[in-house]
């Protein structure tokens, strides 16, 4: 019985691992192909089944005039928008989360929980519902097709995540810490910045990671709210898909764009194994 269970367990894990890895291996193999080896049916192993070529990777660094694919600028745009929106969301989100966790708010029937729910419930909003008004609003403000406009919009996506994680986190930081600081003569701001915040680094990192993940993987708003001047990475890559589909450069650019977040997977795992995540995610 016990051996059978272990057998099933490793069998299942192997199958799932193969399923997880398959598209990456396929993309890696495809990125070294050229026209002939793509159109000749599915092939997997370089040298053995097809002659590898560096065409797919070299178009990424070639200038656009020579038939290159411009993904370097979208790359920096994506990094900039994701990081600034995450940072702003964390700042506003953490302050609000601290207030919601420590003070009592009362306005009519509205209590702390209702305000927290208001923040978090913005995730329920389907992006499509906001897209047309956002489109017209940013057009009116002259922020369409600009980085600043995107950052504003992304804050709506990311602040709920920051508030959600930080409220839970602050609820578990003992209140005695700030009370002691207040008794020692700090005002609430000093107590927060000097005492509570340094004790909240794990929570801040987890919230930051989640903001970065969900900012980096968004496609829809970038797709609708930008056209030519500013392009984000996912949009640039999906645009490759619509033309005569050069699978090799498509695969190469896809791999380049998913690579940085795989590092995030390692950091998330570290926090998970240390047990810091368990509280932050409940």
């Amino acid at each position: 019985m016990r051996t059978f269970y272990i057998f099933i367990k490793y069998f299942f894990i192997t199958i799932w691992s193969m399923f997880v890895i398959a598209p990456f291996l396929w993309a890696l193999s495809t990125s070294f192909k050229d026209f002939n080896s793509v159109t000749g049916g599915a092939k997997y192993i370089p040298w053995l089944q097809f002659e590898p070529s560096l065409e797919g990777w070299s178009v990424l660094i070639r200038s656009q005039g020579k038939g290159g694919v411009n993904i370097i600028e979208p790359y920096f745009n994506s990094v900039f928008v994701t990081c600034s929106a995450s940072l702003l969301s964390i700042i506003f989100g953490t302050l609000a989360a601290y207030a919601l966790s420590r003070f009592t708010f009362k306005a009519g029937f509205i209590r702390n929980n209702d305000i927290t729910f208001f923040f978090i419930s913005q995730r329920i909003m389907p992006p499509i519902v906001l897209s047309i008004p956002f489109f017209l609003m940013l057009g009116f403000l002259g922020l369409l097709d600009s980085l600043l406009g995107l950052i504003l919009v992304y804050m709506v996506l990311l602040m709920p995540i920051a508030v959600w994680i930080m409220v839970d986190f602050f609820n578990r930081v003992p209140k005695e810490i700030d009370e002691t600081a207040l008794i020692d003569g700090c005002n609430p701001f000093e107590a927060f910045f000097k005492v509570v915040l340094p004790n909240s680094i794990p929570g801040l990192i987890v919230a930051g990671l989640f903001c970065i993940i969900f900012g980096w993987i968004d496609f829809f708003f970038a797709f609708i709210l930008t056209f030519t001047k500013v392009q984000l990475l996912p949009v640039a890559i999906v645009a490759l898909n619509s033309s005569v589909t050069p699978w090799w450069s498509l695969s190469a650019s896809a791999l380049v764009s998913v690579a940085p977040l795989i590092i995030v997977a390692f950091i998330v795992e570290r926090y998970l194994s240390k047990g810091n995540l368990s509280g932050a995610l409940k």
């Binding site: 396929w26 047309i132 498509l250």
Partner: protein
């Protein structure tokens, strides 16, 4: 703690969020009462005509809504079952524990649209590896152009992409469980299956509910995958609500009508998610 301080903490975030959101939502409601399209751009007032059209004369919207419900319930159930199994398997000792944990997390870190582009080549009818392998058995199913298989493909891609998120939430939950109930169960001589049914599962119920609801919320927005994988096709057979609103609003530029669709869709979403969470709480917490 005086009045000034607590608002100094809360207000910046609240004001920014409301400031960004109040116009879009107000404007959407106003827009839904107008007939703004490419022929007559402008905010006229036509009362609830758009809503009448939506409820009496638009079976495509309701079909897309039922399709969305089917897709999200299927994908989330699969994600929950697979994610929970995976979490249980790497919870306790296993060789290469950390390696598997990282590996199982990776798909959720990748951009869905970009991976979907890869999946599209993966499921390509004549040049993709899936049909290459299946051709050994003499079949080459048209994954993206058959109306039933296209749904299966979307489900496979969604399960690949988002099972890791379920896995992450459930594993974090498992790791935070207290040890005493398990010790007590061992003392009573419970086997692994009984332990799971009577100890692990009940303890995990609140976390399970949370994870399922979060995933349902995110799954109800399925749109990127559909856009890249099938563009709603063949015909309208993989169109979800979001995608249909997108087609009406930003392809056919019927702003007024699509605002009415959006608003109705939002209300339906809020009501159904509330009902589902109440139902799940009843189902999973029996006491």
């Amino acid at each position: 703690m005086n009045f000034r301080h607590k608002f100094a903490f809360l207000l910046p975030g609240l004001v920014v969020l409301i400031g960004i959101l109040i116009f879009p939502i107000g404007f959407m409601i106003r827009l839904s009462l107008s007939s703004w399209d490419t022929f007559y751009p402008g905010l006229d007032f036509i009362g609830i005509d758009n809503y009448i059209r939506l409820f009496t004369d638009d079976s495509r919207f309701w079909e897309s809504f039922f399709r969305l419900s089917f897709l999200s319930i299927t994908t989330v159930s699969l994600q929950y079952i697979i994610g929970f199994s995976l979490a249980l398997m790497v919870w306790r000792d296993i060789i290469f524990k950390r390696f598997f944990r990282v590996l199982f997390l990776i798909p959720m870190m990748t951009t869905p649209v970009i991976m979907t582009v890869i999946w599209r080549t993966f499921f390509h009818e004549s040049l993709g590896p899936v049909n290459d392998v299946l051709s050994i058995f003499g079949v080459a199913p048209p994954w993206l152009t058959n109306e039933h298989l296209a749904k299966v493909t979307i489900i496979i891609v969604e399960v690949w992409q988002w099972t890791p998120f379920m896995f992450l939430l459930l594993l974090a939950g498992l790791l935070s469980l207290p040890k005493e109930p398990f010790l007590a169960a061992s003392v009573d001589g419970a086997g692994p299956i009984r332990k799971f049914i009577y100890v692990t599962f009940p303890l995990m119920a609140p976390i399970s509910i949370g994870a399922i609801i979060i995933r349902l919320i995110e799954a109800s927005k399925i749109m990127d995958t559909v856009y890249v994988l099938t563009s709603g096709g063949p015909g309208t057979s993989t169109e979800t609500s979001s995608y249909y609103i997108f087609v009406k609003g930003l392809r056919e530029f019927q702003f007024g009508y699509s605002a009415a669709l959006s608003f109705t869709y939002l209300i339906i979403m809020i009501i159904s998610l509330t009902i589902i969470s109440k139902f799940l709480v009843k189902l999973l917490i029996k006491k």
